[in-house]
Symmetry: C2
């Protein structure tokens, strides 16, 4: 089954927003085995929208349109669809009643007349009453067996119609159930991950594997097809185990958890609290940990020590360390971790120090990082180098730090110094 995505909205052509709807839809369609061959974007112009829809219908089995279904005079997608389908628009009284009721709920006042165009449906089309927003989705059968789904451009409204109706219908039509699992990896590059898994998926069309590298991580998406979800899920299980076996403990989640969610969950399971001492990451590790809902049961706090004086006076880094190996050193990282654990009263403490760049610091080039972990049972430190710009150095330091905590908690090996990433 071939699909095409048409996004309608002048704001996309002005560059005010990126076409994140097409990205999300494409990812979901790929996961159920539907091939997307084209994206189009057109502005709020009825001729151009109709031309784009006709072009899409000429080369795809399924056309997905988002945007242009709202209440303003710029919302012309309904009219363009009716033109392509060769039918008139008809006002549906039950949609009109739905709109009036929703509007009363939002505002308590009478509905402006132009809102009623949202009750117009191309003759013979199905409509999908929305929970969010007011724009009904539309399902139109075009000539040549092509199905067109239209939905609002507001992301949450689009997602609702896709998840409730479009994706289940397309998965059903493809005669197959598709199940995906996302494994997340940090501490190994995309090409190394792909190389280790190459043999496993070579020439395999079911199951399949896809990789996405981003921000110091690789997401590995495994997808299996079956006649039922149970069957597809059963096909996937041994593959998940085999993939983890080949990659080893660089896999930090087999359920698409973020690294910070994984750390907070593991800490919760172990009944332990955490604190951080941050220099080059400036509070970013703490901000990621506290972004997880419920983090307050686990996170005690952080000391961001951006100066030597704060490292000495607040964290208790020794004068000897500051005068000797200096602030970017194993000794400093270890003393920062010990200080954070003591001062903030946590079970586990993570410390990060290094040179974010772009300027050298303390005689060290940008990219040199030391991280240290202290728990009631052990202390561990690791030095490494990261290449690239300031934001990349900081991001990779965060990843390495959070992953060190994860490893200490889930029993993985703790990495040693001197890996360059």
């Amino acid at each position: 089954m071939r699909a095409e995505i048409v996004a309608v909205g002048t704001e996309l052509l002005l560059g005010q927003i990126a076409n994140t709807n097409a990205r999300w839809m494409s990812e979901e369609l790929a996961a159920i085995g539907v091939d997307v061959l084209h994206h189009q974007v057109v502005g709020d112009n009825v001729d151009r929208v109709a031309e784009a829809l006709a072009l899409a219908a000429s080369r795809a089995d399924v056309v997905l349109v988002s945007g242009g279904l709202g209440p303003t005079q710029d919302d012309l997608t309904r009219e363009a669809i009716a033109r392509v389908a060769g039918v008139p628009l008809e006002r549906h009284p039950e949609l009109e009643a739905m709109l009036r009721e929703k509007f009363r709920g939002f505002s308590g006042s009478a509905m402006p007349a132009n809102n009623l165009q949202q009750a117009d449906v191309p003759r013979g089309a199905r409509y999908l009453t929305p929970e969010r927003g007011t724009a009904p989705g539309l399902v139109v059968e075009l000539a040549g067996g092509v199905t067109l789904y239209a939905m609002a451009g507001v992301p949450a409204e689009m997602v609702e119609i896709m998840e409730r109706t479009v994706l289940p219908e397309l998965a059903g039509r493809s005669g197959a159930a598709i199940v995906s699992r996302v494994l997340r990896v940090t501490g190994m590059g995309e090409s190394a991950v792909a190389e280790r898994l190459a043999e496993l998926f070579e020439a395999s069309t079911n199951p399949t594997v896809a990789f996405l590298a981003t921000g110091g991580e690789v997401k590995v998406r495994l997808t299996a097809k079956g006649t039922t979800a149970e069957e597809a899920g059963r096909a996937l299980e041994p593959l998940v185990a085999e993939t983890v076996g080949r990659l080893g403990d660089v896999v930090f989640s087999t359920w698409n958890e973020s690294l910070e969610e994984t750390v907070i969950r593991l800490l919760g399971e172990a009944g332990r609290t955490i604190a951080t001492a941050e220099s080059l990451t400036g509070g970013g590790v703490s901000a990621r940990l506290t972004s997880v809902p419920g983090a307050s049961a686990t996170v005690r706090g952080s000391i961001v020590a951006y100066t030597e004086a704060v490292k000495r006076d607040v964290l208790g880094v020794s004068a000897g360390t500051l005068a000797g190996p200096g602030v970017v050193s194993e000794a400093c990282a270890r003393e920062m971790a010990a200080g954070a654990r003591r001062v903030l009263g946590a079970d586990v403490a993570l410390a990060l120090t290094g040179v974010a760049g772009p300027e050298p610091h303390g005689g060290h080039e940008p990219g040199l990082i030391w991280i240290a972990l202290e728990t009631p049972d052990r202390a561990h430190a690791r030095g490494f180098r990261v290449s690239g710009a300031r934001d990349r150095v900081v991001r990779w330091a965060q990843q390495a730090g959070l992953d060190l905590v994860r490893r200490a908690l889930d029993g993985s090996a703790l990495p040693v110094s001197s890996t360059t990433i």
Copy 2:
């Protein structure tokens, strides 16, 4: 002048990345007065790329292509362009020499043969030697006076070719110089900003204004056209002043600086250092401040106090405050600011406490926030409510906190309590 943007890459159709290149290009083209009427996305398939380019050339004056110019067998854009132009590809010795030299610089090893396809240029086309990456940009004159620009899909490489060649050439062709200024606003919503400026730009096609709201900010882009950049710039100046006059001190930058860049710059100009005490923001304010290159001259550090004990033991919040008004209160915010200033040895301290959600805390609903500022000369606190999810509450708290520092430094009025945003 009408432009069309064609992005090439199967990763876009799989939804692995969003088409942020098209967004950036569209925004820049709008700023120089070029209308973008369509975006297309196609995968790494030479027939479909050639069809997409032919379609674009049939309806636009300028076609911008990104992606598919790399060294692998999936990189087919050169071949598709040659097909549409009806000319062969020719290998250019000077590009070959450039590639060999770049490759030596990257890796020190011999270059794989497939890299040489990047030295192929459609006969009669211009090529643009890149600073970043290895893929030369291409400029091809097609039938009907249509110009096609092709560039790599890697964002930084695309931006280089656009800024160095494409945008200046198109601005020159449009017979006009276009100058834009971006003013940034926080503490006022998009609709209120638009309303205050409506009269100023009503029915004006030169200069123009555009708004973009994101993450607790509104960007106001003013654009003027003239026969020279000097003329356009002169037309813009009084308008910038008038816009600032109408919006007032919610404008924190008239040069598209981020809020954290503005704060770091103002602190540097005043010769003052800063520290933060963060509860609900978890270190995010400190992470934003330290993301600015050179922040280490100004930022002392932060105490992230995610528990009552850390507020009491490290920041010195009094037992009376904790037992009385509690951790989400004006008194607690003020004492946190005083504590951060004293403990971290900074001139200026900002404190933030509140309920991020989704659960209530200390008898308060999510969204209640108290922030406090202490400087050598003054102390100020402000309470307010933010609606929405955890990430929105945290983001708006960061904005309000950073803006309070900005206001204290640039002499703006300090906002008082009880605004709901």
